[in-house]
């Protein structure tokens, strides 16, 4: 009550000649009518708010810009939500995209002038994107990464499809404990596997001798595909289990009566109907393997002819006496492109895949 009364008197002084003092509980409607022509905008809250607050001159308050903004925000919160959305979106876009922008600035800056980059490149040297391929066979590293990522993705999808079918569509004793075991394995730090695996992959196996010169897996794609696939398989198993479990039993039964085996029904009916899930699992695996650092770095000697992946190429611009930052930046951008294209192409399926799994669980 008190602030209103106070406001009323102030209001009367500045704005309306008779408003303040006559504004009592008697006849507020008359009061409103009197004010309308002068006060301009009729205040919607006056009709009921006036009696409740004991004053009718709410509309005529002389508030500061901040108070007015607060008032309008309270009345139409959508505007605030919208503003908050833009703030959050811009912040998110900035934190996501700024590193790329910075990378581009570094890549475009000629060698030796890095110290003066603020928001524009210090000079302009697009030739770095070509120089990258001249200094090192960077395309070779990219090809290696691509092969490793593709092979891992195929391996993961095949194994996870079969596992997902078993977990999602079959009843068997120990299903839940086994599922938990898969989950636990996925939580192991990759470093825990490294030493035994490195030892294993450096041990000559006579069976491999016809294929590999020295009979070891070190310096071959296998040394990366096998451990990396093992690490990323649980995620795909979970995604595919969720999807395969949702396909009605009748469809599988129908396919089996029509002439497929269980496996045939999986490939002809269940997988096509779970396409968003398979695409999601595939793309996530591909990206994860393509970006993988630990095993990729340690399972080869870093030479492109020994299947060294992308990141060895990027690190290759770091010499003993100088670091070619502009080439590292340029090669990083080139390296990101395949994944960026893949995500843009598959994003619709990924989004529907991730949300379908989440909603129907």
């Amino acid at each position: 009550m008190t602030p209103n009364d106070h406001d009323t008197s102030r209001d009367g002084g500045t704005d309306v000649e008779a408003g303040g003092e006559t504004a009592g509980s008697e006849g507020y409607s008359e009061n409103v009518n009197r004010h309308l022509p002068r006060g301009g905008r009729p205040h919607t809250r006056v009709a009921d708010g006036g009696t409740a607050l004991g004053g009718t001159d709410d509309a005529e308050l002389d508030r500061g810009p901040f108070s007015r903004w607060v008032e309008s925000s309270i009345q139409s919160p959508e505007r605030v939500y919208k503003a908050m959305f833009y703030v959050a979106a811009i912040f998110f876009l900035f934190t996501t995209l700024f590193p790329f922008y910075w990378l581009l600035m570094v890549a475009l800056t000629p060698e030796g002038q890095l110290e003066d980059i603020v928001f524009t490149p210090n000079g302009f040297n697009p030739g770095a994107f070509i120089e990258v391929f001249e200094v090192l066979p960077f395309h070779w590293y990219m090809f290696n990464s691509f092969v490793i990522a593709t092979a891992s993705t195929i391996l993961v999808l095949v194994i996870a499809s079969l596992t997902g079918y078993a977990f999602g569509r079959l009843e068997f004793p120990g299903r839940t404990p086994l599922m938990l075991l898969v989950l636990v394995v996925s939580f192991f730090p990759p470093a825990a596997f490294f030493i035994p695996l490195n030892d294993l992959f450096n041990t000559p196996v006579s069976m491999l001798e016809p294929i590999m010169s020295d009979g070891t897996l070190y310096n071959t794609p296998g040394a990366m595909v096998i451990p990396i696939s093992a690490i990323f398989i649980p995620l795909s198993i979970f995604i595919l289990t969720t999807f395969y479990a949702q396909i009605p039993d009748g469809l599988e039964d129908a396919a089996r009566v029509e002439g497929t085996t269980r496996l045939g029904a999986l490939f002809r009916v269940i997988i096509p109907l779970s396409a968003p899930g398979v695409a999601t699992a595939g793309v996530l695996t591909f990206i994860a393997v393509y970006n993988e650092f630990f095993f990729s770095f340690l399972m080869t000697d870093g030479q492109p002819e020994n299947w060294a992946p992308l990141l060895e190429g990027i690190l290759g611009y770091q010499g003993q006496y100088e670091i070619l930052f502009h080439l590292m930046a340029a090669s990083s951008i080139i390296g990101v492109l395949p994944v960026a294209i893949l995500v843009i192409v598959a994003q619709e399926k990924i989004v529907s895949g991730l949300t379908a799994g989440a909603l129907k669980e």
Partner: protein, 395 residues
């Protein structure tokens, strides 16, 4: 076309027996309905024939082959599912030709057969459509086309009409009968709707709790039910049951007595309890019972609720004095209620006290202990010559 035989088929799950020692012999070209309440094992029996479920014990034969351990695809069966189960990512042509393509038929043959099947189920011009662009009835017809296109030995239909609306269901029922007449293939049909079973099948197999109760032509199941379950399940509204005690010269129930030559009824000795079963249409008003050749003595009842159905009126009858209304439980199970059906022109009102008689030739007696039928029709009166029963007493 082939004969289907089940020999001692049992299916056990962890804690339940879904199918218990089932023996079925389905003739070549026969249309057999498996009926029973939910959970009676009829779908499991069907899946056992299809090969989707492997029996825990027993053998399944299709034609001359023991198919117990064969995969579904090698059994020569086709199945129509309750939820239709069309592959949603394929158009009608691909759905129908799915089985043919798997069997590597050449393209011309596939095309010819699909067209022929589409013709039979009247789907011409719809082969390009996707399942989600079709109505329920059309989808069901695609499912049937998918089944017939391979010329299977046996059709298995698992409640194919359950998801259709009432009008379409009646229509498809006729279509299926026409199809059976045209193709002459053995059809095994699962339904819980006894009206569907009565109208379509050559023989009905009534199942309850995983056990085969009776397999006979529809009218035999109706007129001579093998036991209490079949008697109560077949026919709508179901049969009235009244518990009674066999005494010398009759059957005494709580509210009325029926004359009976118990010597002519094997298995019913004096002092045994028996259940009397009588269908609503075999109860007659005493004043209009001239046409009944073997009436029982009059029973005094009070009419309760009348349900006019158009072609007949169902009358709920209260027996005895101070009979209590038992609306919660099944009225047919109550000893104090009977359901009578009369012609619509009958002059009858609620709350009226009338006399009724039962038609003795259609009174059934069941052993109260195990539910098996003792006799169908109790025409013999005490003292008359035995062996003149018009309806044969089985068991």
């Amino acid at each position: 076309m082939a004969r289907v035989q089940l020999e001692h088929v049992t299916k056990r799950y962890e804690d339940v027996i879904a199918v218990d020692d089932m023996n079925l012999d389905i003739e070549d070209g026969e249309f057999v309905c498996l009926v029973g309440p939910s959970g009676c094992g009829k779908s499991t029996t069907m899946e056992t024939i299809a090969g989707l479920t492997r029996p825990s014990d027993g053998n399944v034969y299709i034609g001359d082959r023991d198919v117990t351990n064969l995969a579904p695809k090698d059994r020569g069966v086709a199945m129509v599912f309750q939820n239709i189960a069309l592959f949603p990512h394929m158009d009608v042509f691909d759905n129908v030709s799915f089985g043919l393509r798997l069997r590597k038929y050449d393209d011309e043959e596939i095309e010819r057969r699909v067209e022929q099947a589409a013709d039979i189920v009247q789907l011409e011009g719809m082969l390009e459509r996707m399942p989600d662009e079709m109505s329920g009835g059309q989808r069901q017809r695609v499912a049937i086309a998918r089944a017939i296109v391979r010329n299977p030995d046996v059709f298995l239909m698992d409640e194919p009409l359950a998801n259709l609306d009432a009008k379409l269901r009646v229509h498809m029922r006729t279509e299926l009968q026409r199809l059976h007449r045209e193709l002459g293939t053995t059809i095994v049909y699962v339904t819980h709707d006894q009206a569907e079973a009565m109208t379509m099948s050559d023989r009905i197999a009534v199942l309850n709790a995983g056990k085969l109760q009776q397999i006979d032509p529809p009218l035999v199941c109706y007129n001579e039910p093998a036991n209490l379950f079949v008697a109560g399940f077949i026919g709508s509204p179901s049969m009235n049951f009244v518990q009674g005690e066999v005494v010398d010269g009759g059957l005494e129930t709580k509210n009325f007595d029926v004359e009976l030559d118990h010597a002519a009824v094997p298995g019913a000795g004096t002092g045994d309890t028996a259940t009397l079963g009588v269908r609503p249409e075999d109860i007659h008003l005493a004043r209009k019972a001239d046409a009944v050749t073997h009436p029982t003595s009059r029973i005094e009842v009070t009419t309760d609720v009348l349900e006019p159905m158009g072609d007949e009126i169902f009358v709920y009858l209260m027996l005895g004095e101070g009979a209590e209304r038992t609306m919660e439980e099944d009225p047919m199970e109550s000893p104090d209620q009977l359901l009578m059906s009369v012609t619509p022109d009958t002059d009858i009102r609620e709350g009226e006290t009338v006399d009724v008689v039962l038609d003795r030739s259609n009174v059934h007696l069941f052993d109260a202990a195990n539910g098996n039928a003792l006799v169908h029709g109790i025409v013999d009166l005490p003292g008359s010559e035995p062996g003149t029963t018009p309806t044969e007493a089985e068991d």
